[in-house]
Symmetry: C2
Subunit: 659 residues, 2 copies
């Protein structure tokens, strides 16, 4: 508790507000808006540090726990209490709530929500309407208006971004990013408290996946190197069966690990109960939407149900229409393109031409993927659903569809149509090396060069202002401002850079699983790659980029389904590969009628296991009812319970000690 | 509310306690135990009616709401409140709790729990140790001992059973059992309030299933009757694809309907939260079991987790070992037996011999199934799990395995090995008619004859006592006592007679789905059968049998998985059937290597979709933690919340009115 008390007293400055630098340093008067802003922040109890950089001025803000607590009380933030129920936070009953493992009261995600509330909703002008001068512009605001929002719309506040905490960052760089000899071990709890849950879950997944990869990596190496004599015939099928079992078990154990992590981080796991704060709130608004209908049509319960159901089915129809459009356009537009490339690549003999073709292809797919991503975003935006979580998942599925075709169609072409396993292997090795070496390099060097470029511009700007003489170093916080954000490369709408990282993992998993029988060594490549991936990703997050905005997602979401889908695909493709491998002379024949029936069987099995998703198990109105009930109950008991918990907390402590 | 008040004042006598009839009517003194029992019951506030029957004396008991409420308070029964949370019942805060749709405070299931508590735990002897005479026996009990338990162990109280409520029964007979022209419509809410949730869910399922069956029944009829010309070739595959889609959609919509029903009946649907009272309590004791280990080994949290995990995996290992034993013995013992019968049936030409063989076969499988059922019960009992729900499911799976082999192996034999579709069709028709007509008849006539026999014995007994002259009619309550209970035919341990009814449905579903392509007309048979099944089952429950003990299960449980499994099986078998149908000349050949790979593929897909069940997604300790948390929270807030709810109830009512 002592440590907690100390760390709370030292308020860390966690938010940066970027303002343009005044050209004339002498022009300081009371009407200046930076002064006003700083003053208001200080009035609110925030700690403000003003840093004059080369190109802009940055206000570093920090809030003592007391101020954060006040904001949390106003926000009615739900927090885990000592009785294991999430209740609305109240500053007076502070003892009822569980503290973070590092002793602080709020998690980074909660702190950021509080900051947001303080900055946008609390800091207001308390004086009558006034005019302020800010650089060249004159800003005029009225009583009770939010200063920051006004300044943002006027374009004076360039950006507000979360700052790195240098003490913790240095510690993490040492214990995590540069700790190569730990292989897959990572300080997940510290990552969670520094970067938020979603990123911690990603690294926990990556670590566990890499650890589990060691088994198929070793098996693959053995299969590749050792000749088993007359047993050779059975080695590949056995390898394949083990692989599938391995993959299925891995994902089951991952789910267990995920729920164990959530239990450790004190996240409420009852489904529907605050999976994501944002999603929850927005779902609420979704659920209240049909009640507008009711007021028009009548007030009976049955009408409410009907309105919900109409809404639900209409929403589903829109989604399936969109999915259908996406799948159709991928098959009709992307597939022929990819097949054409694969065909030309197989037909052309000159190496130079092949290289040229590949370059043209790579450039064009970059462009096409971007277009595809934009279309997907537009489609998702048109869907009626306001559920953030669902939208993010839907976008991930659609964009992954594009990448799936891109990555595997050429390989299928070589494998099945040409039965050319040597080309397939060569392409596989190329892709693996490309993705492992080149992508890792690019991933880290692009942000670095972007940063360098911006820094260079800042120095040039300074030189221009100071007429040639650059004095002093670029302040650290401005350096941080110049760093790129952690965002997805394909489109900004994908919530953050984790999309790229998960995509890389999923494509790698698909590649090694789907063509496992053709190239068992791939697992060894992948394992080696992932060991470096852990550390380079850590470095990227800690050093190369700004501190990302934390997200409260508790699982890997849509990606789990994608991985599961890849396992099923890999069962089918490996069977085809085995047929190709063992039937080089084309002796194994199969009648067309039988083929038709087999195809029908597979399609039906797909329907059986996929179709159940079309009709959700629980009607929306039941869910809405339940959520209404839970929130009502929670809100009612909140205050009274808190008092009894914080009163009884001593008792709890004693019980814990006894345990 | 007026109706509710009246119905509560007329206390219905709902429990019958059966005692032996005293031979000598004159021998009544204060020491007689029936007198004592009646007196104690009346002291407790119960309403007692004493009926002297032909063979035994029956005490009919009823409890006014006040007495039930007191018992419920003592039991700390969880009940749905107006804020949608289940809280511990308390008599003083009666207004906080939601009433049943029929206006009464407690459901039939809750009433029975209260009766149980009152009869066994509350009715005690308050006098010092005494001796009582009861017929020939002398019973001696001590202060504070439960009278009823003592009398039961002494064999004086023969049975305690729930009584039919004649008013409601007559109403249900009229509106449900004899209401043939409603086809699949049933008054589900009344069934639920009279028989409890589990039976209502069964009838809701049966009704919906029959309603949905009309579509494939019509389609099957069309396929059977109309000749499509050159399209004939595609009709069967199209029929089959539609069927699979139909089945998948049906079960999804059933899940929706189920959750809608539960919402209507105010059942808490958050997973783990009181799925079944009994299961919940017993899981609790399971979860506390490993904590004994801890006290021995140490008190650290990690040890607790480890103890949980050791326990969990050991339990799983035991289960899989048992499952393995069951599957192995079914394959090694039952399969050859069934195949032998099918083979002899196909080989023998004389009709008389065939008939004799079938009779011998039918008698022997009756016997073998019983043995199998007993073995399954023993295996399940050996498993460490104390979770009632899990145990019931496990037993259902094991016993269904036996029936599955029994019902379908012969059919497979005809279909695949002999490619003899005509025999297959004949056997199918025989089975369907047998199951539909004969089983329905037996199901209703056996209880009737059992009852008649018992009644005859009672009258003979009376005649013996009265020396030849039988005066008066058999009292209605004694008639009820003579009726058979609603129990499974194979073994008593299967919780109730619903096992037989669900088994009939599942076997029918398997039969019509798995051989759909061979005999599309089967769906029409099944639909007709199910329409009668609804009414005959209703009659059986209302007229033929004693009122069953209600159960609080919210879903159809294990049967859903069995139905889903049958859909997947039907995809595979129908594909095989189609091959047999279209490939009469054996022109379609397939190389053994390809067969091996296809078999491997199917096995792997099975692993993929089945294996995930081997490793549960959530470790037991996480679940235990969560349940501990929830119950802790609930218990803490219970009392305080109740007061505020019942205080605020007027507010709620006003809100409801406004809505």
């Amino acid at each position: 508790m002592d440590v907690a008390a100390i760390s709370e007293e030292e308020t860390v400055l966690e938010i940066g507000v970027v303002l343009p630098k005044r050209k004339n340093n002498t022009d300081i008067d009371n009407g200046d808006c930076i002064e006003v802003l700083t003053g208001e922040f200080q009035n609110m109890g925030l700690i403000v540090e003003r840093v004059v950089g080369f190109q802009s001025e940055i206000l570093k803000l920090g809030a003592p726990t007391k101020i954060l607590g006040k904001a949390a009380t106003e926000l009615q933030l739900k927090k885990r209490t000592h009785i294991g129920m999430d209740l609305q936070f109240h500053m007076d009953e502070i003892d009822a709530f569980i503290r973070q493992p590092d002793g602080s009261l709020f998690s980074w995600h909660e702190r950021l929500r509080c900051y947001q509330h303080i900055l946008y909703d609390t800091v207001k002008v308390n004086k009558p309407a006034m005019k302020f001068k800010c650089g060249d512009k004159e800003v005029c605001w009225e009583m009770g208006e939010s200063i920051l929002r006004k300044l943002e719309t006027e374009g004076i506040v360039k950006e507000i971004f979360p700052l790195h905490d240098d003490v913790m960052r240095k510690q993490l760089v040492k214990s995590w990013a540069l700790n190569w000899w730990d292989f897959t071990e990572q300080p997940i709890d510290e990552i969670c408290s520094y970067f938020g849950m979603k990123i911690a879950i990603y690294f926990a997944f990556l670590g566990m996946y890499t650890r589990w990869l060691f088994f198929p990596a070793a098996f693959g190496l053995i299969v590749h190197l050792i000749d088993f004599g007359w047993l050779q015939f059975f080695v590949l099928p056995a390898f394949f069966v083990c692989l599938v079992t391995w993959a299925v078990l891995f994902f089951q154990f991952w789910k267990r690990k995920n729920s164990a992590l959530l239990a450790r981080w004190q996240v409420d796991q009852t489904p529907g109960a605050g999976r994501d704060y944002k999603a929850f709130e927005l779902e609420w608004s979704l659920f209240q939407f049909p009640s507008d209908h009711i007021k028009k049509y009548g007030s009976e319960k049955i009408t409410e149900k009907e309105a919900f159901q109409r809404d639900e089915w209409f929403g589903r129809f829109m989604r399936y229409r969109n999915d259908f459009v996406v799948i159709l356009s991928i098959i009709c537009l992307q597939l022929p393109f990819e097949l054409a490339y694969a065909h030309f690549y197989a037909v052309i003999e000159s190496d130079l031409l092949k290289f040229g073709l590949t370059v043209v292809y790579l450039l064009s797919i970059q462009y096409l993927t971007r277009i595809g991503g934009k279309i997907a975003v537009k489609l998702v935006n048109r869907e009626a659903s306001k559920n953030v979580e669902y939208r993010a998942d839907s976008l991930v599925y659609k964009v992954f569809g594009l990448y799936f075709m891109q990555s595997y169609v050429g390989l299928f072409y070589h494998a099945v149509l040409h039965r050319n396993l040597m080309t397939l292997r060569r392409v596989l090795i190329q892709r693996l090396i490309f993705s492992e070496v080149v992508e890792n390099l690019l991933e880290n060097s692009i942000p670095y060069f972007k940063y360098k470029l911006k820094k260079f511009r800042a120095v040039r700007f300074k030189r221009k202002c100071d007429r040639g003489t650059v004095t002093g170093k670029l302040p650290r916080v401005e350096k941080e401002f110049l760093k790129p954000t952690y965002s997805a490369s394909i489109c900004e709408e994908l919530e953050d850079g984790l999309f790229d990282d998960f995509l890389e993992l999923a494509l790698q998993f698909g590649m090694i699983m789907m063509f496992a029988c053709a190239f068992p060594l791939a697992f060894t490549f992948a394992a080696l790659n992932n060991i470096t991936e852990i550390r380079t990703d850590a470095l990227k997050l800690l050093v190369m980029l700004r501190r990302p905005v934390p997200r409260h997602d508790a699982t890997i979401g849509a990606w789990l389904n994608i991985f599961q889908f890849l396992i099923v695909m890999s069962i089918c493709t490996n069977c085809i590969l085995l047929v190709c491998l063992y039937d080089r002379e084309g002796e194994w024949n199969i009648s067309p009628g039988l083929v038709a029936i087999l195809v029908m069987e597979h399609a039906l099995l797909l329907i059986k296991f996929g179709f159940s998703h079309f009709v959700p198990e629980e009607p929306t109105w039941v869910r809405a009812n339940r959520m209404k009930n839970t929130t009502q109950a929670h809100d009612m008991c909140s205050r009274e319970l808190l008092r009894s918990i914080s009163g009884g907390k001593k008792m709890f402590k004693e019980i814990e000690k006894e345990e």
